[in-house]
């Protein structure tokens, strides 16, 4: 449990720090043009508002908790790895979308046209992941059968 908690906090700090650094650059470049229009660019290029940082920290904590839930065997003991990845990506995407819409982080007009594309991308990647995993498992099963027949004769 300690190991998982430590990993969780490290992941939160790393993700939050790295992304905040990236967002700082974005704000520096386009902050003045979008000043007052979004939660992120409320202060223009002068900085990122505290409210946004706290909201973003909460979002990162939720996403990392989802990561611990789906991508480790702490809670879910038995689930196909590809299914874990897909569920994590979907829930993480929904979380970030929720925060963007509810907290007004970015302008969202016109973003609805990207939804079909995003759904297609998720479905295609899910199919690819499942097929890769099934192929890998079949290869392992065939190798095991071959080993057994070679060593039982």
């Amino acid at each position: 449990m300690k190991k998982h908690l430590r990993a969780y906090f490290l992941n939160v700090m790393f993700a939050f720090g790295l992304t905040t650094a990236f967002l700082s650059v974005i704000v520096m470049l386009v902050g003045d043009q979008l000043k007052g229009e979004t939660g992120l660019t409320m202060l223009g290029s002068e900085g990122i508002p505290i409210a946004f940082l706290l909201q973003f920290l909460l979002a990162v904590m939720i996403v990392m908790a989802l990561r611990q839930l789906f991508l480790s065997d702490l809670c879910i003991k038995s689930m196909k790895p590809s299914l874990r990845v897909i569920l994590f990506l979907i829930t993480a995407l929904l979380t970030m979308t929720g925060f963007i819409l509810l907290c007004g982080w970015f302008p969202t007009e016109g973003l609805l046209i990207f939804i079909p594309g995003a759904v297609c991308a998720i479905i295609l990647n899910a199919v690819r992941l499942f097929r890769c995993e099934n192929a890998r498992n079949k290869e392992l099963a065939d190798a095991l059968a071959q080993y057994k027949s070679a060593h039982n004769s």
């Binding site: 991508l71 480790s72 065997d73 038995s78 790895p81 874990r84 995993e133 890998r136 498992n137 290869e139 392992l140 099963a141 190798a143 095991l144 071959q146 080993y147 057994k148 060593h151 039982n152």
Partner: protein
Amino acid sequence: MKISMQIDGAFQETEILIRSPKLTPELEQVLAALHLLERKITVTNGEETTVLDAAEIVYAESVDRRTFVYTASSCVETRLRLYELEELLEPCGFLRISKSCLVQIRRIRSLKADLDRRLRLTLETGEQIIVSRQYADALKLKLGVK
């Protein structure tokens, strides 16, 4: 201890006879070493000591510095350490799959890829055990998978 040996072509098979007033720990070690030559290991089940054929072993596990051997129907303890079992049983198709576990590959029913490049084995007994990342490549190599 007096050791004597008779080599004679008239003998049909090799027979080892040990004469002693009582069974001592040293004698048990000698017996264990002799059984090892036939890929048999001495195991204890409570007070009872028996000999187990390597082929009956599904997997062996080290817990709290004690080594337990699992067959299809029982769990017994052996005095051998896990690394000693590994050295003895590796030619019989056994492989280390984690720091504390050794498995007979023929007794694996199925295996699947798991999180973090680990492998999940289902044994003939229905039990599932995890091959750690460190040992997964060795198992794949043994099976001839890249």
